[in-house]
């Protein structure tokens, strides 16, 4: 596949450099390759020293790895950003309304817009949430929306991550490292700052404290140091100045949650939990879980503590429910979607399945509940044997798969072993919701470092970039 057919963030579809990238392009041209390599090495040392690593599952122990960082930033203009921002806010509003509805009157089902079985047979649907009111009616306090770009103003949503999306620490640390390594790039550009994210997060978490709590105590609940995103849990707790707790640090008494401290029990009012629903409470969910807190669900249901995100949000973010988000936007908001959905075939439907099986070689096929780029098929890049094997898996359990066309993900100049070359990227902006929603101007740009690859997940060899949102006002070229 020639890279010429993809929209390039720097050059569009032609050869001229787009305005937003003028400074970056000049900088790439003016900087000798050896210097770029030295800077990249320096960035790696910084990340390692800061301990910004993630653990890779399924390999031998002690594999703390760095996610490769690319020193060439990804730049978006304020016009492009306003599409992303308003589109993300719209989705979050609609999905939050959907969650409230599903766990209350189920109007959308009664209106025939979403089939009943799609909700109630979904393993992430939590009957425990039925009829429960949550503070501020907020279910999804932290949302990460995965976007790809295929043209000048064409953005598609790949998925909505409603179950404690990770990666935001990379957004913040990538910026930190870029500012340290290339201060001059920042003085010449009007780049929106992102470092108030933790403060905003804390503000939003405090806003959803249980009724009557005036000075809420917030804590971050982590599965512990062996979790792949542990660094991020530490980072966020540290930046917010709140305790990072594990299940063993908490206990429930009289429908309230307490931390075990050196001075005895201290009540916790809001828990930003980075532990999945299944492991939150061994009394209610997975009985073998060592990560949770016995009685937490009962305390939550009694209104003694707020969990962010709420329990049961997963019902709205699997890849089958994704196809209904445009319906939710229409049903709850009466609006047209600002960001497009990728056309999706649901293999649980007879006709869709037939189409998918005939077109495996040109489709991307994913497991409905899959994440992290594991267990997916990228048809155009797969061998005949891989396709044949995958076909059997789909036929075995059609309801577990969806398929989408292979999107022409935009490319962004990236510093590779053979110099600067285009590589495919996506973008994950983060939406924070307390009593209202905000999007920090930035996000996590992931880049598929292998030439031609469309898989950007870090677990599959993807890297990250700093993401710049240029503020309006001065020419983005930044000549001064």
């Amino acid at each position: 596949m020639a890279s010429g057919k993809f929209f390039d963030e720097m050059r569009g579809t032609g050869d001229t450099v787009r305005e937003a990238y003028e400074t970056v392009e000049r900088w790439i041209k003016a900087t000798p390759r050896r210097q770029l390599m030295a800077k990249r090495k320096e960035a790696e040392i910084l990340f390692r020293r800061m301990g910004i690593t993630f653990l890779v599952y399924g390999t031998s122990e002690s594999t703390e790895r760095l996610i490769p960082f690319d020193i060439i930033p990804r730049v978006l203009t304020s016009d492009e950003w306003s599409i992303i921002e308003s589109g993300s806010l719209q989705r979050v509003r609609a999905i939050n309304a959907f969650l409230k509805d599903i766990y209350h009157g189920q109007e959308i089902i009664r209106a025939g817009r979403i089939p009943e079985e799609a909700v109630f047979t979904n393993p992430k649907y939590r009957p425990e949430m039925q009829g429960l009111d949550v503070p501020g009616d907020t279910y999804i306090h932290i949302t990460g929306i995965d976007l790809v770009r295929v043209g000048e103003r064409d953005f598609y949503v790949l998925e909505d991550n409603l179950r404690n999306p990770s990666g935001v620490s990379y957004m913040l640390e990538n910026r930190e490292v870029m500012m340290r390594l290339f201060p001059s790039l920042f003085t010449g550009n009007r780049i929106a700052p992102v470092n108030n994210y933790p403060a905003l997060l804390l503000q939003n978490l405090r806003a959803v404290a249980p009724k009557g709590v005036t000075r809420p105590t917030v804590a971050v609940l982590t599965p512990g140091i062996y979790n792949s995103a542990y660094f991020e849990h530490v980072f966020l707790a540290d930046e917010m100045g709140v305790e990072l707790v594990e299940g063993q640090d908490l206990f429930v008494k009289d429908d309230h949650v307490f931390m075990r401290t050196t001075h005895g029990p201290v009540q916790v009012d809001v828990i930003y939990r980075r532990v999945d629903d299944d492991y939150l409470d061994p009394l209610a969910f997975n009985a073998d879980s060592m990560l949770g807190v016995p009685g937490l669900l009962a305390a939550y249901r009694a209104g003694g503590v707020t969990l962010a995100n709420a329990i049961g949000t997963g019902v709205a973010d699997d890849k089958a429910m994704y196809t209904y988000v445009p319906d939710m936007i229409d049903f709850y908001l009466g609006e047209k979607p600002i960001l497009s959905n990728v056309p999706t075939w649901q293999c649980r439907k007879q006709d869709d399945l037939a189409y998918v099986l005939d077109h495996l070689h040109e489709l991307v096929v994913k497991e409905v509940g899959g994440a992290g780029g594991y267990g997916m098929l990228v048809g155009p890049a797969a061998s005949k044997a891989e396709i044949a094997h995958y076909r059997e898996r789909v036929i075995d359990d059609p309801a577990n798969f969806i398929a989408q066309p292979t999107l022409a993900l935009s490319t962004c100049p990236t510093f590779t072993e053979r110099g600067v070359a285009p590589r495919h990227v996506d973008l994950r902006p983060y939406v924070l919701t307390g009593t209202n929603s905000t999007v920090v101007p930035g996000g996590l740009t992931r880049v598929a470092l292998r030439e031609g690859s469309l898989v950007v997940n870090s677990s599959q060899g993807g890297g990250t970039k700093d993401t710049w949102i240029l503020r309006p006002g001065r020419s983005a070229g930044g000549r001064s």
Partner: protein, 317 residues
């Protein structure tokens, strides 16, 4: 009031104990390395300095299970980079870094980076590289890294309870190490109190003082030739010398007053008792009791206090 999880306090306490232990192990090895430069076969026990290391660290059986003889090379291999020896510098620094990794929220970036980069460098070392670098350089480097960590803590950390538990670990561990160094060295160096003043003695006592950074301090404080009684006085009772048992327990008493939690009464009482013994003690009565007996008793009490601190604060109730 600051809120500190018991688990966090535990990590902080052990983080600083581990770093302090790594530093003291480097100090102990350093002094043995110096003593090893003396001609062997000396009546006063030169040549047995590597056995002494194993006695101080209380690890003789673990060592002899794996090595036939306490030679310099064997003991250094065992005490520096051996991942299977839980008290090697490698293992204690790894534990300190694991404590820090579990407690990133409670420590500053500077502290984390000091520990993390130390660990990254140690984990790359091999015995061959260590020898090429020179043992003494390595020991100095470990001491520097420990100073850097402690300096980062003192100059960047909020003075809340986290800080107090971190400092408690430092002083409990340091007092234990100073007592052990003095106890073992005393018996190797000087079986006979009257036998003082020779050049070899001076060198050996000097090496002991150097191992606790007290060589110059000794001369400033006592302004006379090195005598065992003065050395013991400096290391046990002198409250100006920051590695003495007295100085360490000045800090311990103060820190326990700062944290004074609801279950802390017994720890405070034990600390007060130890402190009174050091504060009002006289070196003559220490020798009358027997230096070894005094130090053994101290090590037991210090350890009991550590267990009481853990029971009162660090174990979740």
């Amino acid at each position: 009031m600051t809120i500190v999880l018991s688990r966090s306090a535990d990590h902080l306490y052990w983080m600083s104990r581990n770093v302090e232990r790594a530093e003291n192990t480097a100090r102990i090895l350093d002094v043995s390395d110096r003593l090893g430069l003396l001609p062997a076969g000396n009546e006063n026990g030169a040549g047995s300095e590597w056995d002494a290391v194993l006695q101080i660290t209380g690890d003789a059986s673990g060592f002899h299970a794996r090595f036939p003889e306490a030679t310099a090379a064997n003991v250094i291999a065992h005490m520096t980079l051996d991942p299977n020896n839980p008290s090697s510098i490698y293992s204690t620094m790894r534990s300190a870094r694991e404590n820090a990794r579990a407690e990133r929220v409670g420590i500053t970036t500077e502290m984390w980076e000091a520990l993390n980069s130390t660990w990254l460098e140690i984990s790359q070392l091999t015995p061959a590289r260590l020898a090429a670098r020179g043992y003494r350089n390595f020991f100095d480097w470990i001491k520097e890294r420990s100073h850097l960590f402690r300096g980062a803590a003192v100059s960047t950390m909020l003075r809340d309870e986290r800080y107090h538990f971190l400092r408690l670990g430092t002083f409990i561990e340091r007092a234990d190490n100073t007592a052990r160094i003095l106890d073992v060295k005393y018996h190797i160096l000087l079986p006979d109190l009257a036998d003082v003043g020779g050049a070899v003695d001076h060198f050996q006592w000097g090496a002991l003082l150097r191992s606790v950074s007290a060589y110059r301090n000794y001369h400033h404080a006592y302004k006379q030739v090195i005598t065992p009684v003065n050395v013991a006085d400096l290391l046990i009772l002198n409250n100006q010398f920051p590695r003495s048992l007295h100085s360490c327990h000045n800090e311990v008493v103060h820190l326990l007053e700062e944290v004074s939690g609801p279950r802390g009464a017994e720890a405070a009482r034990q600390a007060g008792e130890i402190h009174a013994m050091l504060h009002y003690g006289r070196i003559e009565s220490v020798f009358a009791q027997g230096l070894h007996e005094f130090l053994s008793d101290f090590i037991v009490r210090n350890n009991r206090l550590s267990q009481e601190i853990q029971a009162a604060y660090l174990v979740a109730h």
